[in-house]
């Protein structure tokens, strides 16, 4: 038996042409039937009366009435059901279809229910799987010149992204992966895969990824064409949340703002500290870039909104560090076994020190001459009420302002 999907087509003409093709190949007794459901078409082609040009047609909307006329054996019931159906006096499909679902289920079980559905022309078989939708794509070719400039390439790719992202957005989908294909003057092609951390149709996000690729790659020849194809798509994340939760509703805008900052100033503009155990505070921290959707941010859908801390730290004065320890001039006075600062000059201005705690001595790096350090730290309160952090470099004998508490 050959099945043909006539949805959206002239099914009768399709059946006639298909029948003619089969007959032209030598099968002269072939038959065809057209119906709205597979079971009605099957019954029509096997048992039905062949109509014009060897095609039996079941009028639309009459599948159930058509099926009801056939004996129940036409549906090929399971051997277990045959005596049960006979005992119930069911001889035609119409007799079975007239029963209720519950009564069939109680008397005949799951197999009986399946048979009952077929008797009612309620055929749930998927003869044909749904046709896959074409994924968005766009391309651009030029013949009069060849491009090598990344900015001009980005301009062209941006135009393609407008079409692809527009198509994705219209479908309510986002792309996980885009395939960028460069056609080159040496008749070759170069493929680049762009991947986003989550399905998105945001053009700005993809432009950022394209720019990163163009900064990285080295093409062997000039470009004569570009093609962009969405190779993996998914439904866009639809997070459940409270519309009255302002943080939830503004997630997209916040992420876009952070993404623009990163595009404008580089990935090291938005950072988080990564701290080691180094004894020197100015060498303890490495600043690592954060993406707009870094895992630290556990907002609904947004990597910008931060997770609520389990217990928020109370307000306190914390140490602020000068980007580089600032050389200062210090006047000292003797105190026990050390020299204590009594005033210092920073930026041409003298600051008197009211109280000084210390020294806290830090030394190390003895095995690495480049990192040898020996410092005496003092916590000093100035007459202006600022708690500053001074240190004396014991190797060089110089004084520095390292930070202050604020």
């Amino acid at each position: 038996m050959l099945w043909a999907d006539g949805h959206g087509l002239d099914a009768r003409a399709l059946a006639r042409k298909t029948l003619q093709l089969i007959r032209d190949r030598g099968t002269t007794d072939a038959r065809a039937a057209v119906a709205g459901t597979p079971v009605a078409a099957e019954l029509a082609v096997v048992f039905g009366v062949v109509g014009e040009r060897g095609v039996a047609v079941v009028a639309p909307g009459t599948d159930r009435a058509f099926t009801a006329l056939f004996p129940i054996e036409a549906l090929d019931p399971a051997p277990r059901l045959a005596p049960l159906l006979a005992a119930l006096g069911i001889t035609t499909c119409g007799d079975l279809a007239a029963l209720s679902h519950e009564s069939v289920e109680v008397r005949l079980g799951a197999e009986g229910v399946a048979l009952w559905r077929l008797a009612r022309a309620d055929d749930r078989r998927l003869i044909f799987s749904p046709a896959p939708r074409e994924l968005p794509h766009a391309s651009l070719d030029w013949t009069d010149y060849a491009l090598k400039d990344p900015e001009r390439l980005l301009f062209s790719i941006n135009a393609l992204l407008t079409r692809v992202c527009g198509a994705l957005m219209a479908d309510g989908r986002g792309a996980h992966e885009l395939t960028l294909t460069f056609s080159l003057t040496d008749r070759g092609t170069h493929l680049e895969l762009l991947r986003a951390s989550r399905p998105t149709a945001n053009q700005r996000t993809w432009v950022r990824l394209v720019r990163a690729v163009l900064e990285r790659i080295r093409l062997p020849a000039a470009v004569t064409g570009v093609a962009l194809h969405a190779s993996r798509v998914a439904a866009r994340d639809a997070q459940q949340g409270d519309l009255f939760d302002r943080g939830f509703t503004t997630t997209g805008a916040a992420e876009d703002a952070v993404a623009r900052i990163i595009e404008d100033q580089g990935e090291h503009a938005v950072v988080a500290p990564d701290n080691s155990a180094h004894p020197l505070l100015d060498e303890r921290t490495t600043w690592t870039p954060r993406s707009p959707r870094s895992p630290q941010a556990a907002h609904t859908g947004g990597e910008v909104r931060e997770a609520r801390p389990a217990c928020a730290a109370p307000a306190a004065l914390t140490l602020q560090l000068s980007p580089v320890p600032r050389a200062i001039t210090v006047e000292t006075a003797p105190r026990r076994d050390h020299m204590m600062p009594v005033r210092y000059r920073d930026g041409g201005e003298w600051h008197d020190i009211a109280q000084a705690a210390g020294p806290d001595r830090v030394s190390g790096g003895a095995w690495d001459p480049d990192h040898l350090h020996a410092r005496e730290y003092f916590r000093c309160v100035t007459r202006e009420g600022v708690l500053v952090w001074l240190f004396r470099d014991a190797n060089a004998g110089a004084w520095y302002l390292h930070g202050w508490w604020d």
Partner: protein
């Protein structure tokens, strides 16, 4: 007379809502989370959609970081633009977004983006002395985005709220060493002065001083065992 003044004020508030002093605004401001501080702020917090100016030092950073934490605790977002690059990474465990721009213009652009987006309830710009046009740009962005904008600077003519803090040298409370000298700062008393149109308030409250946890080991890989008690062996 009083009723006509009240009627006139109501009419002005209706026709020009942005011209209303922040003490009469209806939007819930950004609280600092410090009760004494919030009582001194009009409507209990930093106004939304407006510029607040805080003079640097005096514990202002602690107050603003508390406000950022308070905002994120409420499920909102906060951002800190560290133009001066003075935030010590070892003491930054806040939930707020930290931006470290390389130049002053980058700082202005970053703050403008964050304010304009409307997704950040509080944006703090620290370590930048801005020209008037730059401040105007940021004030406009704050107004459009609806978030609170706080600028740490000595001078600004466009602020809806001005805040200054002062710590007297004798306001530090010390733990003392065996010689009677200062050893460790326990806490400090802050004197706060808040001014806005139709508002003038002061507050005084203590804040702890976070230890800088200086590691005093000779090498970074070695534990510092100085000061640990010695175990005594019992005589048989």
């Amino acid at each position: 007379m009083a009723s006509s003044v009240a009627a006139l004020r109501a009419l002005i508030e209706q026709r020009f809502p942005d011209a209303v002093p922040i003490t009469r605004g209806i939007a819930r401001p950004v609280a600092s989370g410090i009760p004494e501080m919030d009582r001194a702020l009009p409507k209990g917090g930093f106004p939304l959609g407006r510029l607040s100016v805080c003079a640097p030092h005096g514990g202002i950073t602690a107050i603003l970081r508390a406000a950022c934490r308070n905002a994120t605790r409420d499920g909102e977002r906060a951002a800190w633009v560290d133009a001066g690059r003075t935030i010590a990474g070892a003491f930054w465990n806040d939930a707020a977004l930290l931006v470290r721009p390389a130049t002053l213009s980058h700082a202005v652009r970053a703050a403008s983006e964050l304010l304009h987006a409307g997704g950040f309830r509080l944006v703090v710009l620290a370590g930048a002395e801005l020209a008037a046009p730059q401040v105007a740009r940021l004030v406009r962005a704050a107004h459009e985005g609806g978030g609170a904008f706080v600028l740490l600077t000595e001078h600004s003519s466009m602020a809806a709220l001005r805040l200054s803090a002062r710590i007297a040298p004798e306001a530090y409370r010390w733990d003392h060493d065996p010689f009677g000298g200062p050893a460790h700062v326990r806490d400090v008393q802050l004197d706060i002065h808040v001014r806005a149109l139709g508002w003038n308030a002061r507050a005084r409250f203590p804040l702890p001083v976070q230890s800088h946890e200086l590691r005093l080991a000779l090498e970074s890989g070695l534990a510092d065992r100085r000061g640990l008690p010695r175990t005594r062996l019992r005589a048989p």
